[in-house]
């Protein structure tokens, strides 16, 4: 083993640059997978930490499994259970506050961007928690209206004292609450709390007769007894309820999860590229070392030893690459977590902890990185073992063998591509995704077959080009005599560019789709947007009064609003968006993936819902026409899926759209969290603007925007988003380009000896240089041509696969193709020029001695 290690290590060290470049490929893959998978758990841990802090002295909290509200009757009888000391009910609601709402001063960065409004029952609440009211104040009393108890820190933020009033947005406009008591400064993480009486909170949130939590204290500390009591409570509350902490993060979590899946796909793709690069390098390595290997075989190394040498070399690179990938990935993950800290703090009032790294994640990342490397080295290692001692003594045997082996590979490749195309025709996402992977592998296998005739034609071409200079026949021979070198080089270029063009096609299609969706989703004349447009649960909506008053303004046409609730199907939490089936399509509208506008009528007629693409992925197997049981505060309700469609704002979260009438009946939610409306034809913006602003002024939770302005703002955002995407693309394409340069350069270096020969028979330096560069360029051109073709197919497949989630259609990536051609040729030339100069500069004798 020691010998194998020594050899592997020395060989790696001997070709530092190449080893570095190949290892880099592994680093990229592991870095992306590891880094990205740090982020979600870190955010989750932050949620949980905040949740735990909020749970306080309470032994158990019962909430609805959806996190939504429910009737207080659920608490009936719970107090009578043996061992329950006290219970209290409450209505909790995070209220996102508009910018500068608390301090009214744009110069100061907002410290308070959200509060939790808590409606409590003053009598029972005190039997569970201790409220240390400071001198001069009092606690809440039953029957209190418009009074509140807040902490010293919140009072400081508002710059108020006892008897002063604080303002909070509510569904019926701004409410002023008189501070009657002040609690000590808040020390635990999480939102500042605004305590009011339960009825007050119900009015402010528009959730009359609803609660969100039942807090329970037990009268024993014995763990087994407590478990028994909790079990009894759980069964008394029923299936729809859970004991434990609330899950207000679930909506955010779902959206994070989609992002994580996408990033993991990127990571796997990067690793796949890494695997290909390693495969390629090892193929070259084995070809290069035929003599060494043959010599080892001649003096007594058996096949296993040879295989082991190559595999250990792969293992070394895998371990080193994965190790570096882990470190860099940690930095990247931690960096993104740090970057996310500010927005998380502002939007969710959550403080991030240290990055969470689970041992499983480390193990998986390492396993993937090392596994891919070793796997990629397997075939070359086996080829190496097949080298006979005779190969050390005869220079030409090798190629016969590879050509023979390519036959079987090419057939397998053709089969794979055929299967991939068939998968595309089925239209099934999972098949298509699998198909594209098959396609890539198939392409690599078939490449030799495709490139053989071309290499031959090439040879002829170069022969013609250089015929006058007397070295034409030699150049011709170079290409046809070493077809495997030509094939490896060209296929590396092909795969590299295929990925660039595929991703280019994907991004241009995506950006086109986003642009059009922004226009259709947000194309209304006016928008009233809440502080957070992606996480609705924290947004305080408005009651019917606001839209009524808006409607009353002369010149205002159709008004469409979004309402929000959370539900679950078999434990999978789902965002429910309530729309007005009549006005929504006129003002905004969904992009349908399945079904059409008639679905809105179905929503109006009964318990029907339109689901988005994320929904069809999260709940695979459900189709249009199926019925599902939605968990509601009043028990399960049966809804029929009538269409698949999506709007911009909710595309990434698992979402279903139902009518607002049903949302009110089944989920008790009537507040509008997002409002958009059009003006009547011919009405000038200026004539109504001031009236609209005046009506909305009482609802500071909304920012009023004239639609066009917002679209511009969103499109700007999309641009930034795509800048990020392109950055990622570059990240992903980089290893492929490295592979390309790598193989091109190696193919020139390999021929040092021949070049010396050319010089010996009288070729000038210039001639040699020109020949080498021309040859490399021609090689790159073939690779580029195939790469672009393959890339267009792959891009098409990816876009088709994404089409399940978004209404997206394939855009011909002209820019990507032009870029691809440029990249292919520039890199091709670059990869040839440096070694060509070196080769030309070589002393003839030195070149001849090069082995």
């Amino acid at each position: 083993m020691k010998l194998q290690l020594t050899l592997a290590w020395r060989y790696l060290k001997g070709r530092k640059l190449r080893s570095f470049l190949t290892t880099l490929a592994v680093v990229f893959g592991v870095l992306i997978i590891f880094g990205m998978n740090i982020i979600l758990p870190t955010m989750l841990a932050a949620f949980n930490a905040n949740m735990l802090a909020a749970a306080g002295a309470v032994d158990a909290t019962i909430s609805h499994q959806t996190g939504g509200s429910f009737p207080p009757e659920v608490a009936d009888g719970l107090a009578d259970i043996d061992g329950v000391r006290a219970i209290t009910i409450s209505l909790n609601r995070v209220v996102n506050l508009p910018t500068d709402f608390v301090d009214d001063n744009p110069a100061i960065t907002d410290r308070i961007s959200a509060v939790t409004l808590i409606g409590i029952d003053p009598e029972t609440a005190r039997s569970l928690r201790i409220y240390q009211i400071q001198e001069g104040g009092r606690f809440l009393e039953p029957g209190d209206t418009a009074v509140t108890v807040i902490s010293q820190s919140l009072a400081d933020a508002y710059r108020v004292g006892l008897g002063d009033r604080i303002a909070l947005p509510s569904v019926s406009g701004v409410v002023d609450l008189t501070v009657v008591g002040i609690l000590p400064t808040r020390t635990v993480p999480g939102n500042e709390e605004v305590l009011v009486t339960l009825p007050q909170a119900q009015t402010m949130t528009g959730q009359e007769g609803q609660i969100t939590a039942i807090d329970i204290a037990l009268d024993t500390t014995d763990e087994t007894e407590r478990a028994a009591i909790l079990a009894e409570i759980e069964s008394a509350a029923g299936d729809s309820y859970t004991i434990g902490s609330l899950q207000p993060g679930s909506e955010m979590f779902a959206s994070l999860q989609m992002g994580q899946i996408a990033m993991n796909m990127f990571g796997v793709l990067a690793l796949f590229m890494g695997g290909f690069i390693i495969f390629n390098t090892f193929r070259t390595v084995v070809a290069e070392r035929r003599r060494d290997i043959g010599m080892l075989r001649a003096i007594g190394a058996n096949r296993r030893t040879i295989t082991a040498i190559v595999l250990i070399e792969g293992l070394l690179q895998g371990v080193i690459g994965s190790g570096i990938g882990l470190v860099l990935g940690y930095w990247m993950g931690a960096g993104i977590v740090r970057l996310a800290e500010a927005p998380m703090n502002i939007f969710l009032n959550i403080r991030m902890g240290n990055p969470v790294v689970s041992p499983t994640l480390i193990a998986t990342s390492l396993l993937l990185g090392v596994g891919v490397t070793v796997l990629a080295g397997l075939i070359p290692a086996q080829n190496a073992a097949r080298v006979t001692p005779m190969d050390a003594l005869r220079p030409t045997v090798a190629e016969m063998e590879t050509r023979h082996r390519m036959g079987a590979g090419a057939i397998a490749g053709i089969v794979m591509i055929a299967v991939a195309i068939m998968a595309l025709l089925t239209g099934e996402t999972s098949f298509i995704a699998l198909g594209s992977l098959l396609f890539l592998i198939g392409l690599i296998l078939v490449a030799p077959l495709l490139l053989h005739p071309i290499a031959y034609a090439f040879g002829k071409l170069t022969a013609l080009l250089y015929a006058r200079q007397g070295i034409g026949d030699l150049a011709h021979g170079n290409l046809t005599r070493q077809p495997s070198r030509v094939v490896i080089t060209a296929s590396a270029t092909m795969i590299g560019l295929a990925i660039v063009v595929a991703l280019g096609g994907m991004t241009s299609s995506l950006s086109d789709m986003l642009n059009s969706t922004v226009r259709s989703s947000l194309g209304s004349d006016y928008l009233l947007i809440p502080p957070s447009i992606s996480v609705w649960s924290g947004d305080m909506g408005s009651g019917p009064e606001l839209t009524e008053r808006l409607q009353a303004i002369d010149g205002v046409g159709d008004i469409s609003t979004l309402r929000f609730a959370v539900t679950a199907i078999n434990g999978q939490s789902i965002s429910l968006i309530g729309i007005n089936p009549e006005t929504y399509p006129r003002v905004s509208g969904l992009d349908f993936l399945e079904g059409d506008e008639t679905a809105y009528e179905a929503l109006a007629e009964g318990r029907a819902m339109i689901v988005n693409g994320s929904f069809t992925i999260a709940l695979a197997g459900l189709e249009v026409g199926d019925t599902v049981e939605l968990a509601t505060p009043g028990g399960d309700q049966t809804y029929t899926i009538v269409a698949v469609g999506s709007d911009l704002l909710n595309a990434k979260v698992v979402t279903a759209y139902i009518s607002q009438a049903n949302l009110a009946a089944d989920f008790n939610r009537t507040d509008d969290v997002f409002i958009q409306f059009n003006l009547l034809p011919g009405v000038e913006l200026e004539s109504v603007d001031s009236q609209i602003k005046e009506v909305a002024a009482n609802y500071p939770q909304f920012t009023v925007l004239a639609g066009r302005g917002y679209i511009d703002q969103m499109l700007e955002l999309v641009k930034v988003l795509f800048l990020g995407m392109y950055f990622l693309l570059a990240f992903l394409a980089l290893p492929s380009l490295i592979a390309m340069v790598n193989t091109l350069a190696i193919s020139v270096i390999e021929r040092t000896r021949e070049i010396g020969m050319l010089r010996a028979v009288g070729a000038t330096r210039k001639q040699v240089r020109r020949m080498v560069v021309a040859e490399a360029l021609l090689l790159a051109a073939v690779g580029t041509a195939f790469g672009i073709l393959a890339g267009m197919y792959l891009g098409y497949v990816i876009v088709k696969a994404m089409g399940v989630m978004f209404p997206i259609s394939y855009m011909f990536p002209l820019g990507g193709i032009l870029g691809g051609i440029a990249i292919g040729l520039i890199f091709g030339a670059l990869a040839a020029i440096i070694p060509a100069r070196q080769a030309a500069r070589l002393q003839v004798v030195e070149a001849l001695r090069y082995e």
């Binding site: 020691k2 010998l3 020395r10 060494d292 010599m295 001649a298 007594g300 058996n302 096949r303 050390a392």
Partner: protein, 247 residues
């Protein structure tokens, strides 16, 4: 008693019209401790014969017997083991692994055979010192002259204490002086250490170091000469013979 012998050994490359008979019913015997040179014009099958003797390639007909065992009956792993333990090779080119030092190269056969690295190193170093390479133990091949490289190769061929050394044009790549050095080294190997050496060469001066010369032409053994004593005229004698054959 013969250490190695062949019976009607035949090697045909290719098939049909392009078939080349590189060896044609060759039957030879080599005794233990003998130094045999194989001579003949270019393309007469010398290398082919040596490869077959060493089990590097398989014959088309006939057999090679070493120590009573026929190579044709052996599996790849057993052949490998045989090469490792009983045979040492020296070739004209590409002899050493470029990334390993002299001593590492020389110790390869025993390292591969499972000897502990420290012990293997010691034994290889001993051989290298005997060949006046004690100063260059840790140099890589590209830091050694051609003659020095070839001496490392001879040390490597001997380190496993094999009974048989096969050398294909070991001096073909060297100047006269280095060539003489290697040839006398091989002679010393037979005389002092009792090994058997079969060496291919077309240089009469180098062949003159051997005890016996086998002449090949067109894949057939056409002559054999036993060189009685080192009298300085052997080289001329052999040169004459070669001319006779038509080289």
């Amino acid at each position: 008693m013969s250490l190695i012998h062949t019976e009607n050994l035949t090697k045909i490359y290719g098939s049909g019209e392009t078939a080349v008979t590189a060896l044609d019913h060759v039957s030879i015997k080599v005794k233990e401790g003998e130094f045999v040179a194989v001579m003949g014009p270019s393309g007469c099958g010398k290398s082919t014969l040596l490869h077959l003797l060493g089990g590097l390639d398989s014959s088309s007909a006939g057999k090679v017997v070493i120590d009573g065992t026929s190579l044709a009956e052996m599996k790849d792993d057993d052949l490998t083991k045989l090469r490792r333990q009983k045979i040492g090779f020296v070739f004209q080119f590409y002899n050493l692994i470029p990334v390993l030092t002299a001593v590492e190269n020389a110790s390869l056969p025993i390292t591969l055979d499972g000897v502990r690295p420290a012990e293997a190193r010691k034994r290889a170093a001993e051989w290298l010192e005997r060949f006046e390479l004690g100063e260059r133990l840790n140099n890589r091949p590209d830091q050694l002259s051609g003659g020095q490289q070839q001496r490392v190769a001879v040390a490597r061929a001997l380190v496993a204490e094999p009974a048989l050394i096969l050398a294909d044009e070991p001096t073909g790549n060297l100047d006269t002086r280095s060539g003489d050095e290697i040839a006398s080294l091989l002679r010393e190997v037979t005389k002092k250490y009792g090994r058997t050496v079969i060496m291919v060469t077309h240089d009469p001066r180098i062949a003159a170091y051997a005890d016996r010369i086998i002449f090949l032409k067109d894949g057939k053994v056409i002559d054999e000469t036993i060189l009685e004593k080192k009298n300085g005229k052997n080289a001329d004698l052999l040169a004459g013979k070669m001319k006779e054959i038509g080289d």
